[in-house]
Amino acid sequence: MTDLTELSAAEAAARIARRELSPVDLVDALLARSARLEPELQVWAYLDAEGARASARRLADEAARGVLRGPLHGVPVGVKDIVHVAGLPTRAGSRVYRAEPAEDATVVGRLRRAGAIILGKTHTTEFAYADPAPTRNPWRPTHTPGGSSSGSAAGVAARMVPVALGTQTAGSVLRPASFCGVVGFKPTYGRLSRHGVLPLAWTLDHPGTLTRTVADAALLLSLMAGPDGRDELCADVPVADYQAAVREPRPPRVGLVGAVYPERLSAAARACLDETARRLERAGATLVELTLPPIFATALDTHHLLMASEASAVHLEGVQARPEAYGPRLRLLVEAGALVPAPAYLGAQRVRRLIRAAVRPLFAGIDCLLVPAAPGAAPVGLESTGDPPFNAPWSLLGLPAIALPAGLDEQGLPLGVQLVAAPWREAELLAAAAWCERVLPPAPAPPG
């Protein structure tokens, strides 16, 4: 008999649609697993067991009558606790913030309308910055799961929920995905609405997904993408058929730009990147050697100025009022960001445009770039969530990016690689990722 907690969202939805699986049984299996693992892993900021069971019963009744709300009918989803869910508290990992939203964030509402059950809110670092959540890495609880989408990545990896929402301002979806051995995806800036998502740095913030398969990432994007009048930066750009894109992927053309910041990459991650490139080529991908433009070297500095300034604008009032109630890292960022002169902030926005213009031609003859997803495997300790240098440039540029599991290091911890595509080319990116997923070593479940 299948372990229901192993099902992907797409598999679960298909079984429910065929009346082979009850949403009630699926929710019960996930809650039982959560009950067993939660004391150690600390995935949930708020687990809505009763609400999820009630929703599951309703959706099970509907399915029995042949009524399906949409492609996620009866499938549980986790939501990072900076994203509003109607009826559940939003705490954002903070001691000073608590909301009881009456309305879903747009991305949550779209999943719910497709039949999703919101299982609970997952732990985040404080306001999605760098003061850690209590969450532990399911592969080794003495190691960080990464952040800021810590609970979403750990919960999906630990089979406590099949899919979850995250957000990324620097590397907060793809890095924890890499550390936890799951698929982390963020589309182009402006593809997903941020209505109902607490900001950290609004010109860098991207909603994204944590899943165990590329097909699930495509499924979630297909349900959430599209303009939203409540987020004026959510662009009215055509939405492709992402699920079709991942069904029969062809070997992609993959651009190689080396390690990007070789001095910050571990030997194991470097070997993983090189081995991944060789595997892809042997399986039929075309590799294209490319060179990043010189101005790319300013990307991390540009990102830092924007993030510090904007985070300060968001949190300055709170930090001034109750500095002791903020985590030390966020407090320092806000204090330093308040000192960045306005002309320097605006200059950084202009430099960002120059970097974008210089990087855009790289994608002319390729489907995606292959770059590291993280400096290495999850570092030991829970005091830090690791560093995002391999993700922050793509957040700065607003390009779609996906992290894929690519093997284990000598300690048995997951390593990941990252694919990055041209703006609005999520269909091509997801197709390339789906093809790579078939070629790369299967991502195992964490022990336990």
Binding site: T188, Y189, G190, W202, T203, L233, A235, V237, P238, I295, T298, L300, D301, T302, H304, L305, A308, P328, L332, L333, E335, A336, G337, A338, L339, V340, A344, L346, G347, A348, Q349, R350, V351, R352, R353, L354, R356, G398, A422, P423, W424, R425
Partner: protein, 63 residues
């Protein structure tokens, strides 16, 4: 590096005024990171600002 040192000195002065001298030891690493970033970004030659600045934040045009 020298330019970043000068920027750091300026940031420390402003930080001491704004947040108090007692915060400087904790702030110094991030002030140094910010000084480096300011120095790097301000050294990038920008096109003459004769045209209206584009709106921020930027959203990619449709491909």
């Amino acid at each position: 590096m020298e330019a970043a040192q000068e920027t750091l000195a300026t940031l420390e002065l402003v930080a001491a005024r704004r947040w108090g001298p007692a915060r400087l030891p904790a702030l110094r690493p991030l002030l140094w990171r910010t000084a480096e970033a300011l120095t790097t970004v301000q050294a990038v030659p920008l096109p003459p600002a004769v045209e209206p600045f584009p709106p921020s934040p930027p959203v990619w045009e449709e491909a």
